[in-house]
Symmetry: C2
Subunit: 601 residues, 2 copies
C-alpha cells in the first residue's frame, strides 16, 4: 500500500517534471505553438499579471498560443519548477509551481490530465528589486548608531500626516475605506507606494458599525483574514459587525495607513497623466493630485429604493435596509420588510426577536443555503479549522480558489449544491411549504456564482428561514403597487398594515456609484463593473471569463476598481498593488487583451 | 551517513521511551525513590504549576523524591510520552514531552545524559474542562437561530463595561497596564476570568509613549510577541516606542480587555478572603472587591533620584530619566547625565544627536554588549528569522529558555559572553581606552543574568558606545558630591558645567512600589520581589533558584506579582492566569514548598 502511494507520487512527479521541462523549453525557444501543444483541447490558462499585466483567462491551445505570441519577448519567463511534491488524485495531477519573469517572481498551480495541462494559473507575486520588507527583509525600526538630527518613527509619521495630500502628492488615491480600501492600503504601504485612503465615515470600521445591529459576517473567519495580520486563534467564526469594525480600525493604525475619515470625494477629473480629485475633509476642501485613482466603493452601489406610489403618504418609519437602525424601537409594531435576500432575512429575524410583528414581501425567487451546509460542503476543504490542521494556508486556499477558471466553476459547483439540497431536503421542503420561492441559480450552481454574476439573490441562513418556515415571519408574495398612510399594498390586492417599512431592495451598480465621482461619460467609457458575462439574470454577455473591470486595467488609464468580500479584497489587493507599484516604478506593463466594454451601466 | 543519522535518532527515541516508561511506572506506583533514581546525581527538575502549583526547581534525586512524595497523590500524573522525535546532540538527548494530571494537561522538555535525566521541565498548559476557546473551540460569534431579546456582541460588551467593577465585582484586579498587565489580561479573558486592569496613564501603550523620544525596544521582534497575536512579518526588528504603544492599545481593544485608564490605585487591604481596593478612576473614587490582586507595576519600582546636596540651588533643568522629554530643547546646551546604564546611554546619544554638549557620569562599572552580538550569539538560536525559518516557534523557544534551571544558566552564559568579548575585542578595547569601566557581571555571565539578578547594570549598545569611545559623549567618573547653581561636582573635584542634569539613576525596588499600595507591613511579609538569591550585587542570598515572588504564590494569600520584559510577560502570564483560574474554579491547588521570605525590601 505504501509502495503504491509512493509509486503514484513518483509518477506524478515525473509527469509534472516532464511537462514543465517541455513548457520551459518551448518558452525559451519562443515557440508559442509548441507550448500550446502541451495544453489539452479543453484547457484554461488563467494569468494574473505575470505574463499579461492583466487578469485574464485564455482557452485551449489557440488561446495559449495567442497569449504567448503577444507576451513572450517582454516577459522572458524562466525557471518553471515545482515547489513541492505534485499530488495525483483521480487522474488529475496538481502541482504547485514557481517561475521568474523579467520583472519579478511568480507562482501558480498546474493541473495535468493525461500528460497535458487542463488548467494553469500563473501569478506575479513580487517585483524584482521591490520585494516587500517582510521576514528577513523587515525594517530595523531604529537605525543603530548616532546620527545628528535623528527623526524618530513618531516624528516621521507625524510629518507624513502633515505633508501627504498637502505639500506632497500621493501616488495612489483610494476612494472608499472599507475592508477593500484598507487591505489595498496595507499592500501599498508595504510596497512603498504613497497612498491616501478617503472614507466618508469617521473611523475605519464604521462601514460595518453603522449597519443594523444584529449583523455579523456570513463568511467564517478562515475565509476572512486580512493580509499580514491574520485573525487570532480565539477570533469568532462569524465576526459580529462591531468586532470586525474594531479590527479594521486597529489594523489601519498598526499598518500605518494614511486614512482620511470624514472625507467625501466630490469629483475626480483627468489632469495630465493623473487626476485632480476634490475632496471635503471634515469641512476643508482639498484638491489631491494622485497619479492613480482606485475606486473601492464596496461591491454594491447606492441604496436602491423603489419609487412606490404613496411613499410620501406613509406615516410610519420607512428606510432602506442600509439605514435600518435595528429593531429596538419596533417591539409590538407591525413591520413590513420588502425583499427576501440576506439583509431582508437578517432584519426580519432581528425584528421578530425584538417582538415586532413581521411580514417579509418576497418579490422574486431567492437562493437560500444553510450556513452550516455552506461551510461543510462549500468551504471547508479550503477554509476551516480542519483545513488549517491539514496544513492548508490562506495563500494556498486562495490560490486554489483562483486557479479554477470561471468557465468551469459552475460545473464544479452544481454537485456541491445538489449535495446541499439532498442534505437539507427537509429544510427546503418546509420553506417551500410555507410558500417561499426558492431557486439555486439559473443553472443550479448556487451561491458563489450568484455572488460573482450579480452580487445578489441569496440568503445564507443563520436562523431566519426557520421563522419563515414556521410562520413566525409572515410571508407575502408579489409586487408592491403602492403605500397608503399605514399599509403596503401588493398587486394581488393584499394589504399589509405597517408601522415600519424596510426597503431591503438592494443596491445600484458599482458603475453608477463611480459615475457620481468620475462623471457619466467616463463611467460609460469604462463600462460595467463586476459580473462575468454569463448571460444569466443581471449578468449580461458576452462572456468575459473574469470579473469585469475588477483589479485590472480598465478602459480609462489610471482608473481602477477594487472591492469584494474580505477574501477577494485580501487576494486581489496583492495583484492590484503590484500593478500600481510597477507603474510607479516605470516598469513596462504592456497589457495583453484588455477586455472590451459592452455595457454602460 | 543517512543511516547513521537514522540510527542516532532511533537510539535517542528508544532511550527516551525507556526513561519515560520507567518514570511513568514509578509515578503510577507512587514510588518516589524509583522515580528519583532516574535522575542523574547532578540534575534539576523545574516545575511550573503542574506538580507543585508553584514555580520551583528541585535538585538531584533527593529533591525529586521530596517533590514527588508531597505531590503524587494529588497530581496523579499519567500518560508521559514524547510529542515529537527526540534529538541527540553531543551526548544529550532532548525530548519534547506531554502528560496529564488530575487537573489538566501538561508538557515539557526532558534532557537525558547517559540514560538519566539531567534536566526536566514540566508545565501545566491547560485545565481540564476549562480549555481556552481557540482554534476548533473558538466561539461562534453569533448564535445562529432566532431568539427573543437577543443581545448583540456590542451590547454585551457595553453592559460589561457598565457593570464590571460597579454592580459586578471582578475576580481579578490587575494593577498596572503595561505589557505585563495587558498580556495577563488577555490570558484571563480567554479563560473566562472576569478581570479589570487599572493603569494611571490614559491609554494602553502610554507607559512607552511617555518615555524619551528616541526610545526603542532593545529586544528584537521575535522575542517580543504578545500572546495570541504575534507581530506581523513586516514589524520592525526593534519597535520604536510609539509604535509598540499603538500595538498595545490596539491589542487591548481587540482582545476585549476591561482596561481602566487614568485610574490610580490608592490602597488595597484584605477584606474577608479577598481585597478592598480603592481606586480613583478619572476623578471618581471606586472601591473594587476582587478576590485576587495582581501587581504588574513594571519590573522596576519608583524612579530613584539621589538626594545630592545643592539640588535645590541648580538653576537649569533637572529630572529623572523617566521624566526626560527628549533632546529637542537642549541643542547647544550643556547636559550632564548621571548614570551609565541603558537609559543613560540612550539619553546621552539622543542629546548628542540633537546637538547638545553631553557628559556622562559613570559611577560604577557597567556591562555593555553590542546589540548585533547579543542577537547573533545570545538570542538567534531561539529568537530570530533564522530560528523561525528552521521551524522554531515562540512557544518552543520560550520552553527551551524556561527549561534551563537557573543554577546552570551562568555556566551556559559564560561561554557566550566569552565569544562576544572575542568578537568585539576591538570595541571593548576602545571603550576602555576612553576610560569606560566595563564589567561582564561578577562571574562574567553577562547581560541576561544581570537582568535576572538585579534588573540593572548594563547597556545594550545601539550606537552610544561609539560616541563614548570617540569622545563625542564626554565621560566623567566618580561620585557626585553636590550640585551648584550651574555645575555638577564630583568627588575628585571635577566640576561639570550644566544646563541640564538627567538622573539616569535607576529605580527603586518592586517591593517598595508595592508597599505604596498594600502597606509596608504586607510588603514586608511578602518580601523581596525579583532576583534569584545568587549572592551577587543587589541579589542577596540565600539561593532560591527562581525569581522571588514572580508569577507564583506569595506569602500573602491572593497577592501576586507579574511583570518582566515582553518575553517573560508573555510566557509567565500563561501560568499565572491558570493559577488564578484554578482558584476561581475551586480546583485544589496545594502549593509545594512556597519559598521562604528572607528580605524585606
Amino acid at each position: 500500500m505504501t509502495q503504491s502511494v509512493d509509486q503514484k507520487a513518483s509518477a506524478a512527479a515525473s509527469a509534472t517534471s516532464e511537462w514543465l521541462t517541455a513548457f520551459q523549453e518551448a518558452l525559451t525557444a519562443r515557440d508559442a505553438d509548441a507550448a500550446a501543444a502541451l495544453f489539452a483541447s479543453e484547457s484554461y490558462w488563467r494569468d494574473i499579471i505575470s505574463f499579461t499585466w492583466n487578469i485574464t483567462t485564455v482557452e485551449g491551445g489557440a488561446g495559449v498560443a495567442d497569449l504567448l505570441r503577444a507576451t513572450l519577448d517582454e516577459v522572458d519567463p524562466v525557471g518553471f519548477r515545482v515547489t513541492e511534491e505534485p499530488a495525483e488524485d483521480d487522474g488529475v495531477i496538481t502541482a504547485w509551481i514557481a517561475f521568474e519573469t523579467r520583472a519579478g517572481r511568480g507562482s501558480g498551480l498546474l493541473r495535468l490530465v493525461g500528460g497535458k495541462a487542463f488548467t494553469l494559473l500563473t501569478t506575479l507575486d513580487e517585483l524584482k528589486g521591490h520585494e516587500e520588507p517582510v521576514n528577513d527583509r523587515r525594517p530595523n525600526g531604529v537605525r543603530h548608531g548616532a546620527f545628528r538630527d535623528r527623526v524618530t518613527w513618531a516624528e516621521s509619521r507625524a510629518r507624513e500626516a502633515t505633508e501627504l495630500g498637502y505639500t506632497v502628492q500621493p501616488e495612489v488615491l483610494v476612494i472608499g475605506g472599507g475592508q477593500g480600501g484598507i487591505a489595498l492600503g496595507a499592500r501599498l504601504r508595504q510596497l512603498g507606494v504613497p497612498a491616501i485612503i478617503v472614507e466618508r465615515r469617521e473611523r475605519p470600521g464604521d462601514s460595518w458599525r453603522e449597519r443594523y445591529k444584529s449583523l455579523a459576517l456570513h463568511d467564517p473567519v478562515w475565509y476572512d483574514h486580512l493580509p499580514y495580520i491574520p485573525f487570532p486563534a480565539n477570533w469568532p467564526v462569524f465576526s459580529p459587525k462591531d468586532k470586525i469594525g474594531d479590527w479594521l480600525e486597529m489594523y489601519t493604525r498598526v499598518m500605518e495607513l494614511n486614512y482620511w475619515g470624514s472625507t467625501t470625494c466630490k469629483s475626480a477629473v483627468r489632469e495630465g497623466d493623473g487626476w485632480a480629485v476634490v475632496v471635503d475633509r471634515a469641512g476643508e476642501e482639498i484638491t489631491l493630485r494622485p497619479r492613480q485613482l482606485v475606486l473601492a466603493l464596496g461591491a454594491s452601489g447606492l441604496p436602491s429604493v423603489p419609487g412606490f406610489p404613496g411613499r410620501e403618504k406613509f406615516r410610519g418609519d420607512q428606510h432602506h435596509s442600509s439605514a435600518h437602525p435595528g429593531p429596538d424601537r419596533y417591539k409590538g409594531k407591525k413591520a413590513v420588510v420588502i425583499g427576501s435576500n440576506n439583509s431582508a432575512h437578517d432584519i426580519c429575524a432581528a425584528l421578530w426577536e425584538a417582538g415586532a410583528d413581521v411580514t417579509m414581501v418576497q418579490r422574486s425567487s431567492t437562493h437560500v443555503v444553510r450556513s452550516d451546509s455552506l461551510m461543510d460542503l462549500g468551504l471547508s476543504d479550503l477554509y476551516s479549522e480542519r483545513a488549517v490542521a491539514a496544513g492548508m494556508t490562506t495563500f494556498k486556499a486562495d490560490t486554489i480558489f483562483a486557479s479554477l477558471p470561471f468557465r468551469i466553476v459552475p460545473t464544479l459547483q452544481i454537485p456541491v449544491y445538489n449535495a446541499i439540497r439532498e442534505r437539507d431536503a427537509e429544510f427546503y421542503r418546509r420553506l417551500e411549504q410555507a410558500g417561499f420561492d426558492l431557486d439555486f441559480g439559473e443553472d443550479d450552481s448556487g451561491l458563489f456564482l450568484k455572488y460573482l454574476r450579480r452580487g445578489s439573490g441569496y440568503y445564507i441562513d443563520v436562523g431566519a428561514s426557520e421563522l419563515v418556515a414556521n410562520g413566525d415571519i409572515m410571508l407575502a408574495k408579489g409586487q408592491v403597487v403602492e403605500l397608503t398612510e399605514d399599509e403596503v399594498v401588493l398587486d394581488d390586492g393584499t394589504r399589509l398594515p405597517a408601522d415600519l417599512v424596510v426597503y431591503a431592495t438592494g443596491y445600484g451598480s458599482m458603475n453608477q456609484l463611480a459615475s457620481d465621482i468620475i462623471g457619466q461619460d467616463m463611467a460609460d467609457k469604462v463600462g460595467k463593473v463586476w459580473g462575468l458575462g454569463s448571460g444569466t439574470a443581471k449578468d449580461p454577455g458576452p462572456w468575459e471569463g473574469e470579473l469585469r473591470n475588477m483589479w485590472k486595467p480598465t478602459a480609462q488609464e489610471g482608473l481602477w476598481f477594487h472591492g469584494g468580500n474580505l477574501a477577494l479584497s485580501r487576494y486581489y489587493s496583492h495583484y492590484l498593488a503590484l500593478q500600481l507599484k510597477a507603474r510607479m516604478e516605470s516598469i513596462p506593463t504592456p497589457v495583453y487583451k484588455r477586455a472590451e466594454v459592452h455595457h454602460t451601466e
